[in-house]
């Protein structure tokens, strides 16, 4: 069979009654896994421990590109930005936006090793909205009660979906890693974003949410025993909060320094300052946290209120470059936030920090 359908989310789905058998092969390895009728093939692969390359898991980046060799499939998000990297005439698809209507086989480009090395395989779960708390005018903290609990490492993310809205969105967990019955996420309102429109205007405690996780490779583990530098912008501070929580609770910062740069546009856009100040109080000599304000002069009142935090005008990667000149060696860098901030930070860390690429960790899922 070699028929493709490209249906909108709202269209009726003629799903098979049983899981499909999916075969995938790259130049160097091959594997097989089962996919349930309603699950994206990427999620089915990751759930089965198959390391299909991915980055955003939500149709944006194009990393989970594969070529269909055989089988009937259905596409989900027809306008997924990641489709720019495909050649539809060659039956290329995004596995995160594709479901199987029959047994299928796919070719993964390049020499990807499909054997998984993740500590925790991602899995599906359900949750309900426990609380929505405003952090700034356009950013909220979303707390979910989870069933089952979500096991994750500091720095990871999950994808969330509301039953009434098509598609998954990726958000990093803010809270302490481990096995969490409740997870917190930072969500910034997006213009014309269906999920954030729902969250900011109609969502109520008790509303159901589906999730799939944990995902992502930008993981912090205290066992590595390394000094770190974290550069995050806006809602990207979420994963850095989780890293700081993990570092504080494990007393990692008793022995290893951390430099944190949190970028926001204006004084009014800064949030989590109470929590960040508490971290700095706990480890005043080893933990240096700077709030970088790109479009404003840091206000005197926040400087006075949070004396252990530094406030500087500028972009976080620029301030990090100046602060850490000659002191990047040996650090692991964690980057989070808007993709452009991650990109310029990578450029800085390679050219000026001279960090090896293996020590620069990030997940781009905006």
């Amino acid at each position: 069979m070699s028929e493709t359908q490209d249906l909108a989310f709202s269209a009726p789905r003629s799903a098979p009654r049983k899981a499909a058998l999916i075969e995938a092969r790259s130049k160097t390895s091959s594997c097989a896994f089962h996919a349930e009728p309603q699950e994206p093939l990427l999620y089915a692969a990751l759930r089965a421990g198959v390391a299909v390359p991915y980055e955003c898991a939500t149709g944006t980046c194009g990393t989970c590109k594969a070529r269909r060799i055989a089988g009937v499939i259905v596409g989900d998000w027809g306008e997924a930005p990641g489709k720019a990297y495909l050649r539809p005439d060659r039956d290329e698809v995004l596995l995160c936006q594709t479901r199987a209507l029959s047994d299928c086989s796919f070719e993964i480009p390049g020499s990807a090793n499909l054997a998984s090395t993740t500590r925790v395989r991602p899995y599906f779960g359900r949750g309900i909205v426990a609380r929505i708390e405003a952090l700034t005018e356009d950013t909220v903290e979303l707390s979910l009660d989870l069933d089952p609990a979500l096991e994750f490492d500091a720095g990871q993310f999950a994808v969330l979906r509301v039953p009434s809205i098509a598609g998954y969105r990726g958000y990093s967990m803010v809270n302490h890693p481990g096995t969490a019955k409740q997870a917190k996420f930072v969500v910034k309102r997006k213009p014309s974003g269906a999920f954030t429109d729902w969250l900011f205007s109609r969502a109520r405690p008790g509303d159901p949410i589906e999730w799939f996780g944990p995902l992502g490779k930008a993981i912090f583990t205290p066992q590595e025993q390394r000094t770190i530098v974290c550069i995050g912008g806006g809602s990207g501070i979420a994963s850095i909060m989780s890293i700081l929580e993990a570092g504080c609770s494990s007393r990692h910062f008793d022995h290893f320094e951390a430099a944190v740069y949190f970028g926001v546009r204006s004084n009014a856009d800064a949030f989590y300052l109470d929590q960040l100040h508490r971290f700095a109080e706990t480890f005043p000599t080893t933990l240096r946290i700077t709030v970088a304000i790109s479009h404003d002069v840091p206000a005197a009142e926040i400087r006075e209120r949070y004396p252990l935090l530094a406030f500087e005008a500028g972009f976080p990667h620029e301030i990090a470059t100046r602060d850490l000149a000659g002191r990047f060696a040996g650090r692991v860098a964690y980057l989070a936030g808007p993709p452009i901030l991650v990109d310029v930070s990578i450029r800085m860390l390679i050219t000026q920090g001279r960090l090896p690429v293996r020590d620069i960790r990030y997940d781009k899922f905006s």
Binding site: C56, C61, R87, G110, I340, D343
Partner: protein, 156 residues
């Protein structure tokens, strides 16, 4: 294909690129003579972050994905490089010993591999061509920084 045919093919490819627009046929012929055709398969990496900088590449056919950093992982901010564009121009700057980006073929691609030092020697012999090429490189770099700056301002 004979050497003359390869050079003629290279010449036609180079002649159609923006970066060599207005450069004399004689100089383009010299570049065509040192350019080495190279085929890369879909998913193959042309160069990775940290690799030594040796060559610039003209894309004769196919599309590639350019990603800053990335340890081989394509990522959201990657850029698609189409046929006719030049890749790896750090080879013409002299003071950039290591790659800071990763380039992966999105499909089977044909490239012309031109050693940076050799190209600079050819441009040394034709200052007008050198001026045109460097002017266009400067424009590309400026454009890249302007786009980056605009994106950053709207990002957080």
């Amino acid at each position: 294909m004979s050497l003359a045919a390869v050079e003629s093919d290279n010449f036609e490819i180079l002649r159609s690129t923006d970066i060599l627009h207005g450069v004399s046929d004689a100089t383009v012929k010299k570049i065509a003579a040192v350019a080495r055709p190279k085929t890369v398969d879909e998913g193959e990496t042309v160069y990775s972050v940290g690799d030594p900088v040796r060559s610039a590449y003209v894309v004769a056919a196919g599309r590639l994905r350019f990603v800053l950093g990335g340890d081989g992982r394509p990522a959201a901010q990657g850029t698609i490089v189409p046929a006719g564009d030049i890749l790896g121009w750090a080879a013409l700057l002299g003071d950039q010993p290591r790659r800071i980006a990763t380039v992966i073929a999105l499909e089977e691609c044909r490239l012309l591999d031109i050693e940076g030092e050799t190209l600079l020697q050819i441009l040394d012999q034709d200052p007008r061509a050198g001026y045109l090429v460097m002017q266009r490189l400067a424009r590309m770099i400026t454009q890249s920084f302007l786009e980056q700056s605009t994106l950053l301002k709207g990002a957080t």
